[in-house]
């Protein structure tokens, strides 16, 4: 049972939610782009620089040991968060994009060649399109697209029948950032595995909002970002099964990722270090683990339940607005509402909402192919986090009515 007190207490931990924008209390509905940060995550960054700052995996001195311990404890925390079977399978990256590029680079070097095929879906974010286009360009493999219908639901049946010996990888988003669709990744993975095909899941929009269990999903790779789940920017995870991470070539060369170096030959370090070249984002990773503890203290199930309430309320409330057109009406949805107001450009609506202190995203949301599919220039997207409220959704609805009056 989620009470008013719970919500007030959650909100009180986010200093930015107490601020004003353009003279109005901030209504922050751009959580799918980046979430806000609770005080304890902010504090952990300060704590790192005041008490721990030192390079990791290098020094014998006490501070370096402490920083390394905190960094490696963060790996354990993140492994626990997604139920990874061993912490060595959790690679720290700059974010989802970096995680996907790591795999795409390795695949194009070692596992893709001319004549091969790989699949992504019609609703991918640019970061799960472009790295694969580049990988296919380098290797000569062909990139194929899983189609979707006009509710934003993937048409998996025909695609599953086309999988075969030529298929080398499926890279698919768990939850669509622009439509909110939750994809049946577990079913896709099971079918792909029955044909020996590995699957990478882009979990950027899933990890903050629902229980992710990489063992239950049985995915070969799972990628997500810290900054969308209350952690600092520049943090992310690439989870991979050990067998894959061991045979995947390293992405970048540098310190920490080596075992021995000579001018004739370098042998690489074991996982996870093989994929963590150079000094990592130490304070970011430590703060990332603080964000995980923050989520665990509330409970990801509670967060999920609260966001489902907000989505249901927003769907009902916004549907009362005359001339609203929802984009993305799949049955299984995360707390994202994408829409258009008849006769107005999303950009105009976004500008006016901003004047009212309401932060939404407008535009193509880095999913231009999705916008092309619906033949629209973009959408207005409100994406919720558990700290949002029904009152804020009411303000959005009023703001949209006002924008409509001004624009039409």
């Amino acid at each position: 049972m989620i009470t008013e007190e719970n919500i007030t207490h959650w909100r009180s931990q986010f200093p930015i939610l107490q601020t004003q924008v353009n003279g109005k209390p901030l209504v922050y509905f751009d959580n799918a782009a980046s979430s806000q940060k609770p005080q304890r995550v902010i504090d952990s960054i300060v704590h790192y620089y005041t008490r721990l700052n030192s390079n990791v995996h290098r020094g014998v001195h006490t501070l370096s040991q402490k920083a390394t311990d905190a960094y490696e404890e963060a790996r354990t925390a993140l492994a626990g968060f997604i139920n990874a079977p061993e912490k060595e399978c959790v690679i720290f990256t700059k974010g989802t994009t970096d995680s996907i590029n790591t795999v795409a680079s390795g695949f194009s070097q070692a596992f893709l060649k001319a004549g091969d095929e790989m699949w992504i879906s019609a609703m991918e974010h640019h970061s799960n399109i472009v790295p694969w286009q580049m990988a296919c360009e380098r290797s000569g493999a062909k990139l194929r697209i899983i189609p979707m219908d006009d509710t934003g639901t993937l048409l998996t049946e025909s695609f599953l029948n086309e999988l075969g010996a030529k298929t080398k990888l499926i890279a698919i988003t768990h939850v669509s950032n622009s439509l909110g669709t939750v994809n049946p990744v577990k079913e896709i993975i099971a079918k792909a595995h029955s044909l020996g095909i590995p699957v990478l899941v882009d979990g950027a929009q899933a990890a903050p909002h629902m229980k992710v269990d990489v063992v239950d999903l049985d995915c070969d790779f799972y990628c997500f970002s810290g900054h969308k789940m209350y952690a600092p920017t520049g943090t992310g995870v690439l989870y991979g099964k050990r067998e894959w991470l061991e045979k995947l070539p390293p992405y970048q060369g540098g310190g920490d990722m080596i075992e021995t170096v000579s001018f004739e030959h370098t042998s690489y370090n074991v996982i996870p270090f093989k994929f963590e070249a150079g000094t990592p984002n130490i304070e970011g990773v430590i703060a990332f683990s603080e964000a995980v503890k923050f989520i665990q203290d509330i409970g990801i199930e509670t967060i999920h339940a609260r966001e489902a309430q907000l989505l249901a309320y927003a769907n009902k409330k916004l549907a009362e607005i005359e001339g609203i057109r929802f984009i993305g009406t799949a049955k299984e949805k995360s707390a994202v509402v994408s829409f258009l107001l008849d006769g107005s450009h999303p950009y105009d609506v976004g500008i006016l909402l901003d004047k009212m202190g309401i932060a939404v995203r407008t535009g193509h949301h880095c999913t231009q192919p999705v916008m092309d599919f619906f033949k629209i220039p973009g959408t207005i997207r409100a994406s919720f986090a558990f700290y949002n409220t029904e009152t804020e959704i009411d303000l959005l609805a009023q703001g949209l009515e006002k924008a409509k009056r001004m624009l039409l």
């Binding site: 353009n22 107005s344 450009h345 999303p346 950009y347 105009d348 976004g350 500008i351 006016l352 004047k355 407008t362 535009g363 193509h364 220039p377 973009g378 001004m406 624009l407």
Partner: protein, 141 residues
């Protein structure tokens, strides 16, 4: 015809009458709705100023040593701001346009539209107008 500086001042005066953002934006929206459209034959790919969120078409023409602009956009607020730029710049000598600093945009509270995060092509549009004029001014120098 008034100079660019005089036209900028006129706009400053118009905007000084508005009490809040709503009045300001209502005026811009009205300007956007009234902006005479660019001829549809000129709404070509080459005339699109690339912007992330709203599309802007801009055409520049020379007549008797003066530069005339017409434009359109799919977003009405963008269009309203274009109408202001056209009101200030169109019909002036190339050298004058190239030199114009356009401080009025800041002064009337529209600076935010020049920020790259807005990605509305407005900065590109101003650059395009001024570069076009500068190129012509140079070739005539």
């Amino acid at each position: 015809m008034s100079s660019i500086a005089e036209l900028e001042n006129e706009i400053r005066e118009d905007f000084s009458l508005f009490e809040d953002w709503e009045e300001r934006y209502n005026y811009i929206i009205d300007l956007g709705k009234d902006l005479p459209l660019i001829e549809s034959s000129k709404k070509t790919e080459e005339r699109i100023i690339k912007g992330c969120q709203s599309r802007v078409w801009l055409n520049a023409e020379l007549r008797e040593g003066k530069v005339y602009f017409t434009a359109d956009s799919d977003a009405v607020i963008t269009k309203g701001i274009i109408a202001l730029l056209i009101r200030v710049l169109s019909g002036h000598k190339a050298e004058e346009i190239a030199r114009a600093e356009l401080h009025f945009i800041d002064d009337i509270g529209l600076k935010e539209h020049l920020s790259p995060t807005r990605s509305n092509g407005l900065v590109s549009m101003i650059n395009y107008m001024k570069n076009y004029a500068a190129r012509y001014a140079e070739s005539n120098a």
